[in-house]
């Protein structure tokens, strides 16, 4: 599977504490030449962490160092250091891109190079690299989300940083653009050996792009490790909850057409939306507990939930304040978690030990595609076609 050799050497070490009102951030992590995904719900402190690394937020205590240069140090012993953001040479792609609205695309990318004589030449080379050379004279308000994204990345890369921070880079992009950019970033990292930290709260992004995954919640680093490892063995229920995966399973692709994939989960055949994976491959897939419906035995089945019908035995049943959780034992030996609001199925006797019919929503069954499996060369960082 995925190699971890490029992760071995830590280049960025972060060990910081910060208190802002009731919010407390306390994080210790190392990043090598790799793509580290910072994953967590909003308000977990992901952006704050990026800002402390970039020098835009000053931690209360701790140390941040990159390639032997100390960016920040404040502890009881020694001399305090706080290198200003402009001297850290970090590429930072902000969530809303933060392109300078009074400058054209080319001027934006050339901004950090202005003291250099060949600034606009180097900027236009970067634009070409990212496939947006034709947008050089446009202003940010004349660009689409995906185009702005490219410009922001080009600008961040212009001063040739060795560390690239990306804050929710895919949130504003549609699916195809998202995948292309993920490929580009992945290839860029492999080509240049950059250290990349990418914030996301989307599982698929994390899986598609990341070498390692760091789960952050309430300002605390809950778990860090290779993406699949964190997915498959969350260290505690916090991580499992943050990842939002109750029903994670391994299955084999038995059919793949543009209309969708069919999975074989140890005898159970399930349909899922199309992902480009070869027949016969083992994949990781999941479905959220909320996306499993209980079917009434006597009511005609709605078309939306007619796929992926399975039968299982109720082995536990608990009610929370406003929802029900069921654990269902399936014929293939595995379990499913099902959750629904308290007002649903009130007329249905959900008795322990009885069989119940379920539908796994086809459109919500997610196949996770690891970055290693992709055919990267087809849409490489250097050969990108024009977009929109």
């Amino acid at each position: 599977m995925r190699t971890t050799s490029h992760v071995d050497k830590a280049r960025l070490t972060v060990d910081v504490e910060l208190q802002r009102g009731p919010f407390r951030l306390q994080i210790n992590l190392q990043v090598g030449s790799e793509i580290l995904i910072l994953f967590g719900p909003s308000g977990a402190g992901k952006t704050t962490l990026l800002n402390t690394i970039a020098g835009l937020v000053t931690p209360d205590a701790g140390e941040i160092a990159f390639n032997g240069h100390i960016f920040f140090r404040k502890n009881r012993t020694g001399i305090n250091i706080n290198l200003p953001a402009r001297k850290r040479h970090i590429g930072y792609v902000f969530q809303d891109y933060a392109l300078f609205p009074h400058l054209t695309t080319l001027e934006n990318v050339a901004y950090p190079l202005w003291r250099q004589r060949d600034a606009s030449l180097r900027a236009s080379i970067l634009l070409k690299k990212l496939g947006i050379a034709h947008l050089g004279n446009r202003y940010p308000h004349e660009l689409s989300g995906g185009q702005k994204q490219r410009v922001a990345i080009a600008r961040a890369l212009a001063p040739d940083p060795q560390l690239l921070l990306l804050d929710e880079p895919f949130s504003a992009l549609d699916l195809s653009l998202r995948e292309r950019l993920q490929n580009d970033l992945y290839e860029l990292q492999r080509e240049s050996g950059l250290s990349i930290i990418c914030v996301t709260h989307n599982l698929e992004d994390a899986f598609a792009l990341g070498d390692r995954l760091a789960v952050v919640q309430d300002g605390i680093l809950e778990q860090i490790g290779p993406v699949e490892e964190v997915f498959h063995s969350p260290v505690n229920h916090h991580v499992a909850h943050t990842l939002g995966i109750q029903n994670l399973f391994q299955a084999r692709i038995v059919a793949s057409t543009p209309g969708g994939n069919v999975l074989d989960w140890e005898g159970l055949h399930l349909e899922a939306p199309f992902k480009p994976i070869g027949v016969g491959e083992m994949v990781t897939a999941y479905i959220r507990a909320e996306d499993i419906r209980v079917l009434y035995p006597d009511i005609p089945i709605n078309k939306a939930v007619s796929h992926n019908q399975v039968v299982g035995k109720i082995i536990s049943r608990e009610s929370r304040s406003n929802s029900y959780n069921l654990r269902i034992h399936l014929a293939n030996g595995h379990e499913l978690q099902v959750r629904f609001p308290a007002y649903s199925y009130s007329s249905l006797p959900l008795v322990l030990g009885h069989d119940v019919k379920l539908s796994l929503r086809r459109d919500r069954l997610v196949i996770l595609v690891p970055n290693k499996g992709k055919t990267l060369k087809q849409s490489g960082f250097l050969t990108m076609a024009k977009e929109d």
Binding site: I90, F94, A98, H102, Y111, R138, D388
Partner: protein, 230 residues
């Protein structure tokens, strides 16, 4: 036409405008980007000349610049009843307009853009001159024009700190007052017309500078593209 008064007015306004620009930008930046104790009091004091009678402002300036005041006491500089005093009075009168307008314009600039510039290697002065000021330019320019126009029309405070000495401190508004007092309505008419024209030009320019700049010409069909993207 009282040419002496005109040239003196232009000289006083030019120097006052420089003072208004430098001090106004500094104060606007301070008020828009920093938070410090007593900030509201400081902002109120800067804005006071807008609502106080000009004679009150003039009286304060008289205390400040005159014998026993800090300028004479600490610097040993005597400026009362010189054109420099008139320039200071004009600057104090025009400053609030500049600060109000520039402060709003600077506060409107997204701090994330300034942070982005810092991350891209810009020092604080570079951030200001390459990002903040260009983005706030309309409000800054409007404030400067309004402040300069106000400085050009300063009367009351100027009369108190600079007097009304023809050829030395008599600016246009004072000359008009003199002309009317002496019954020379032909002279007053000329000067009034000129002042009105200057004020009109100033306000017209402010209005024009506040119009959003049209996007620069680009590839054809851009507008349609934009519409389809929204």
């Amino acid at each position: 036409m009282n040419w002496q008064a005109l040239f003196l007015s232009l000289q006083v306004t030019a120097v006052a405008s420089i003072l208004i620009f430098v001090l106004g930008i500094a104060l606007a930046l301070l008020f828009a980007r920093k938070h410090f104790p007593g900030q509201i009091i400081a902002e109120t004091v800067v804005n006071l000349p807008m609502v106080l009678p000009p004679t009150v402002v003039g009286y304060y300036l008289l205390l400040f610049l005159g014998q026993g005041g800090p300028i004479v006491g600490l610097l040993g500089v005597h400026v009362l009843f010189t054109w420099q005093a008139a320039a200071i009075a004009a600057a104090v009168a025009g400053l609030p307009l500049m600060v109000l307008s520039a402060r709003a314009a600077i506060a409107n600039v997204d701090p994330a853009l300034e942070n982005a510039a810092r991350g891209l290697g810009s020092s604080e002065p570079e951030v200001f001159f390459r990002v903040t000021l260009p983005l706030a330019r309309r409000g800054v320019l409007a404030g400067l024009l309004l402040g300069s126009a106000r400085a050009l029309g300063e009367f009351g405070a100027t009369l108190i700190v600079a007097g009304n000495i023809p050829g030395r401190t008599q600016t246009m508004p004072l000359a008009i007052y003199d002309a009317v007092q002496n019954g020379r309505y032909d002279l007053a008419n000329q000067m009034v017309l000129l002042m009105t024209a200057l004020a009109f030009l100033g306000l017209w320019w402010v209005r024009r500078s506040e119009q959003p700049r049209r996007p620069q010409s680009n590839a054809p069909g851009k507008a349609e593209e934009q519409r389809s993207q929204r």
